[in-house]
Symmetry: C2
Subunit: 370 residues, 2 copies
């Protein structure tokens, strides 16, 4: 293997594929990046067996071949070089990198041991703008956690709605749930799949490296999903299973409604939350529309107690409810507009948090039952 490319291009490619690769002690080659030359391009490939990322960079290929080297060392080294043409060549037991004023050999491993990234049998295709997908993932991912007992919620529901030209993204850890609707550009058939959290964290990271507007292509087979972002492909398994029928628990018969400033709500939740019971994180909301009073309080044996009034427009019935203040804060932080709406049935049912003017975002929060 022998090729030339610009430091800037190689560096960009390494930022895309390098992050997935951690230190893998049981299978050391998974700590490596695979470099492989094809016609006029260098492919960079990384995998953790569940996810594979491949990207291409342009260059002059003198001699075809492939080799693997430790990801972290390669990423850090290339990042420190000046932007000029690099000559890269495989020697007997190393990758040699030469520039005008430097020469480096990175010890690596032959390609044979490197696991193959499966090719997807293309079945169903969808298209979405990078900005839309990025926005959706940013809102939904904070509600998702790895869950070994319930693998079906260890990922995000992708619900493609062709007629509405919408992709509905849903994430939950069973204590709160986020639903975010984003614009779908293309697609032929409704489809529901569950994409693993870790895959989407990598995808979001790659989307955030891209400044320009792009169309993301999504190919879905029975057990796999492929995201094509420009010259980059991210492939992952899907999660088998039935996503919970969350629509059933979205409150319909609202008894009490609160409209207030997001920033004021955030500050009071944070400050009162300091006095909640450790690990329970419980704060109490007393909503009294008759007296036009919303009181938020917490108490802990060790720390003391705190009570604050939040200015708000209140309507409906008097109501009390207890939340985990950290979950409430996550929901508030995800709302971009200055006014938020909280809708409550009673202290035993999930409450709904949303933006006053943006219907595309819903945050369901389960109360702490006393």
């Amino acid at each position: 293997m022998n090729f030339e490319c610009l430091q800037e291009n190689l560096n960009k490619g390494l930022l895309i594929v390098g992050h997935l690769v951690g230190r893998n002690i049981t299978l050391p080659i998974l700590s490596n990046i695979l470099l492989r030359t094809k016609e006029g391009v260098l492919e960079l490939i990384s995998t953790n067996l569940e996810i594979g990322i491949k990207t291409k960079i342009r260059g002059k290929v003198e001699k075809k071949g492939s080799y693997t080297v430790p990801a972290q060392l390669l990423v850090n080294y290339i990042n420190l070089l000046p932007n000029e043409i690099l000559k890269i060549e495989k020697t007997e037991s190393a990758l040699q990198i030469k520039g005008k004023k430097y020469e480096t050999k990175i010890k690596g491993t032959e390609t044979e041991e490197f696991p193959l990234i499966p090719e997807i049998k293309e079945e169903e295709k969808f298209q979405i703008k990078n900005e839309n997908l990025k926005e959706g993932l940013k809102k939904v991912l904070p509600s998702v956690k790895e869950n070994e007992i319930r693998p079906e919620i260890s990922g995000v529901l992708f619900d493609f709605q062709i007629k509405e030209k919408e992709l509905i993204l849903v994430g939950t850890d069973s204590y709160r749930l986020t639903e975010k609707k984003v614009i779908l550009k293309e697609g032929k058939k409704d489809k529901k799949i569950i994409v693993p959290l870790k895959t989407l964290q990598e995808l979001l990271r790659i989307l955030e490296l891209e400044q320009e507007e792009r169309i993301i292509e999504i190919n879905i087979s029975e057990s796999q999903i492929l995201f094509k972002i420009n010259e980059t492909e991210l492939i992952s398994r899907l999660i088998n299973g039935q996503y919970p029928d969350y629509k059933k628990i979205i409150p319909q018969e609202i008894k009490t409604k609160v409209i207030t400033s997001r920033d004021d709500f955030v500050k009071i939740v944070k400050s009162v939350g300091l006095f909640s019971q450790t690990e329970i994180n419980d704060i109490y909301l007393k909503i009294n529309p008759q007296e036009n009073k919303l009181v938020i309080s917490s108490i802990s044996d060790k720390k003391g107690e705190s009570t604050s009034q939040l200015e708000a427009d209140l309507s409906g019935e008097e109501n009390d409810i207890v939340f985990n203040w950290r979950y409430l804060l996550d929901g508030l932080n995800n709302i971009d507009s200055s006014e938020v709406v909280l809708e409550v049935i009673n202290k035993d049912n999930p409450a709904l948090l949303k933006s006053l003017d943006d219907k595309s975002y819903l945050y369901l929060i389960m109360p702490i039952k006393e």
Copy 2:
């Protein structure tokens, strides 16, 4: 105790005293801040037994008294409140904080158990501008480490030179040494003392909270030092012992001189350093003025090897020397000017790193001997 003050003022005071206080399990009251009212002021006091910090904030004192509460909780809570007048009152077992829309009780401990901060018997006084002291500490502190075997280098040498109107600050961990001269405003007599690292880290943090120009007053007794910054006093023990006579090892008979760009040098040290032996961090400099060539290289069994040429003005004899690249980097990062000078005797003697145009900064670096 019962007083009123502005949230903004209390918040500023807490940022000054609150940082020193960590979680102290053996003596829990040291996790607290002492609040004490005097005529028209509230004093905030924290201590870790070696260092004491006291600051004053203006307020309306209704009833004198004192109380201690957990630092972290108080700091975090006050920081989240709006800037308005706070009414603060000691109740039976808590500090009550009231504003227009909130009321909070923080559980605390009576003052009796709180250790007294010693008063200093004022002996010798010096004055220095905050900007000068801050700049000096920033340069010198990175070279200092806690050292149980050699307590005399666990601090910074303050060498007050009255005739030159200079304060010379010196720090070393025995592998490298920084000397920085700053302007002294006032002082009557030459004096040499050693101030503990931890004290100066707190002092630097407090100096960095202050934007405006201030005169710092330094009072020194036989075993203690007091820094007065505006309304804040920081008191600490001094380190007993003789500071090493570092001037003896500052190279005088330079054999080889390198003048080069700081940024280029930094980049090459970082990139070549990646291939140094783990924990030894050794990089090799080959300086050849005849061929006008400076080559920096490293090699490690596991990672590979790297060689770079650094463009530089070279003069004097041919010379080789091995450095710990992290120490070299610390020295380079501390130089503000774009051109740096490296002066070498030979591979067994300390080398000198300095700015081309600023004579007030010296960085001595010991070679790794092969």
